[in-house]
Amino acid sequence: MENFLTQTLVYLGAAVVSVPIAKRLGLGSVLGYLIAGVIIGPFALGLTGQLADVMKFAEFGVVILLFLIGLEVQPSMLWDMRKAIFGLGGAQVLGTGLAIAAASLALGLPWQQALAVGLVLAMSSTAIVLQTLDEKGLRQGPVGRAAFGVLLLQDLAVIPLFALLPLLATGAPHPTETNGGHGGGSLVAHLPVWAQMLSVFAAVGAVVGGGRYLVRPVFRFIAKARLREIFVAAALLIVVAVASLMQIVGLSPALGAFLAGVVLAESEFRRELETDIEPFRGLLLGLFFITVGAGVNLPLVASQPLTLLGLVIGLMALKFLVMYGLARLFGAPKRGAMAVATALAQGGEFAFVLLTFTVGAGVIGAQLAALLTAAVAVSMAFTPLAMILYERVAALMDAAIPDVVPDTGDFDEGEPDIIIAGFGRFGQITGRLLSANGFKSTVLDSDIEQIELLRRFGRRVHYGDATRLDLLRQAGADRARMLIVALDDREKTVELVETARKAFPDLVILARAWDRRHAYDLLANGADAVERETFESALALGTTALQKLGFRAHRAHRAAAFFRRHDRRTFEELRPMWGQEEAYILASRDAAQTMDRLLNADLHRMRPGDAGGAWNTASLDEELREQAAREGAE
């Protein structure tokens, strides 16, 4: 326990100190974590303890990252990305692999080793690439899409690589080290190939089927319990369960998590899952970067600095060139291709695993592996720097060609114009009106039965308590134009208006008010406009009543319109009073007091006949009658 606390202290302390500094220096958080790792690592301060254990734990951050990405990828989107995944991704793995192999061959490695090194180093770091692109705001655009497609195929390619690499063995295998952590947990490795294949399909089927038919009812059940921590626990449970299952059948846990994410991307719990799991992703990824930093073999770096530097620069340059060429070939604009190629130029975390594995399989020597591991780690550390370099070059290019089209693409199709919190009897009508007029809205509702029903009618509704700021942010509140609060709960409505106003000063906030008092309360808390939920419908029923009592339709309509105007004026007039007499109003007599005031105002301003006073031609008729009499007399 003491050891655990010390370790936590070391890792958290290093992160908290170095990451903000790195960010302030414009180096990005990834480099901050890596530097923190180097400092506390076994070759510097030596505070990291059992680094291998921590690393395994931290790798779970990558699993969570892929799960979260999966949540953002609709199955249809995955299909749209098939060109990026199989075309660009496949070309990258093969092209880069062969290019590095050729270079290795030129440096004097035998072809088997050269090919193994090439394929291993062709992999990029999912964690670093995505984190970096995220920080640069590029992940949602075409650049992010292309990079992600390539990364996804690399994840897939790891599976055959494990089968392929042992075939390149030239030396004797080291059976003790064949456990590379990746396929390491596989319980089916001893089975014949067909059985292994079968178990893989069964596992994938279980993830898809479970996500479709099992997870949603379970989540619904949990949601009804309204215990947030259990929801978080259930979300983590899914990710862990899928990762374990994948490990059992020998697939990449990250890939499995991605698949689970995609399956759940269309569920109503998507936003809630994202919000709940997000913090774990950040922390674990940070931990992961720290362990990578800590793993840099400083003595090795110190003993062969030039060789290593040459290797890193050569590796990154080669990866950059191949990727740039391929991206251009696949139709990316120059800038986009540069961004993708820069982002993907480092070696990946799979390289660590695969290098250990290749040594174990007797393909390459331990010394070469150590050198390459160090090179990969350093190349990861160089990635944020390379991105900064890319930005400089891109800025120069922009300056040279002033009318470059910004690389934002049309990926923001999911950005809502409006967020509607609460999609019950009230929110639905408002929402329907807005969507009928072409506005996109994201809907949040916490009544699981309501969501059920709406989804059956094909509406996109997300489960979640909208008063939570993080969920609001997930829903896009910092980019949306408007928030419509249509909750069924007085207190929560006020709470949400207050929270949203503080967090998003520019957001237009409209709110459904319970009654007059609630309406004042909401305005005082920052709502831009409110509507008393029963006011318009009561007025409409009153209009019908007037018609049934014999008023012509137009007169009844005008009477209601007149009354509405009068009431809204009274509402504004009583508003300052409400503020002063808050304490009094909150006392028991408030309702009667307000009503008294209102009735007085009604009588004072709305004399009977006022509403129908229009079109009263009495005075004109009188004059015409006099005129006619005069004419008759003449």
């Binding site: 007169r555 005008r558 079109w615 004109l620």
Partner: protein, 198 residues
């Protein structure tokens, strides 16, 4: 918007579409008397605009279909500031569209007839070059006459009740009978059935 070809198909056109606009019919003795007389006629479809569209949101498709289904369009209204009440103007603006009523492809009303029935507060004498209104009723109704012309419609001699608010019940009854006869004369000899709306 909607042109004749996409509007609801009507097997045959017949009768008079009587469009009435009075924002306070409950106060108008003259217009009520006229409307009551018209309602007694078969072959007249009665449409009370302020009753059907109290919020001024005119249903364009429904109104165009109604126009298509009749041979004669009759407009009944009190003269307000030498023009129609605002909702009737709104109705004209929204329904008698380019491409439907006039202009290229706008032949929906061609061959139909436009008949105006109008009440005024002032006496007939006022609507004269030497009266205080300085112009004749024919001149004040020119915008509608030209509307009919542009739409290829025939222009029927307008029916006008002057001094409406001064007339006693008997006088109004006589005017209503005259109105009824005028409307009947516009109907084809063998009218089928009387339709009433609102």
């Amino acid at each position: 918007m909607t042109d004749a070809s996409t509007g609801p198909v009507t097997p045959s056109t017949s009768g008079v579409l009587l469009v009435l606009a009075h924002p306070a019919l409950e106060r108008s003795r003259a217009n009520r008397a006229l409307a009551k007389a018209a309602k007694g006629l078969s072959g007249v479809t009665f449409k009370d605009l302020y009753e059907v569209y109290p919020d001024f949101v005119v249903d364009i498709e429904a109104e165009q279909a109604a126009l298509l289904a009749h041979d004669v369009v009759a407009l009944q209204f009190p003269l307000y500031w030498y023009s129609t009440p605002s909702l009737m103007k709104e109705w004209l603006d929204l329904v008698w569209l380019h491409g439907f009523a006039y202009g290229e492809g706008g032949e929906a009303l061609k061959g139909k007839r436009l008949f105006v029935a109008c009440t005024t507060g002032a006496s007939a004498k006022a609507y004269h070059a030497h009266g205080y209104n300085r112009f004749s009723m024919d001149e004040f109704l020119r915008p509608l006459e030209q509307t009919a012309h542009l739409c290829g419609m025939g222009w029927e001699t307008p029916f006008v009740v002057h001094g409406a608010s001064v007339k006693d019940d008997d006088a109004l009854k006589a005017e209503a009978e005259r109105y009824k006869a005028r409307l009947a004369s516009l109907l084809p000899a063998l009218s089928t059935s009387g339709k009433t709306e609102a």
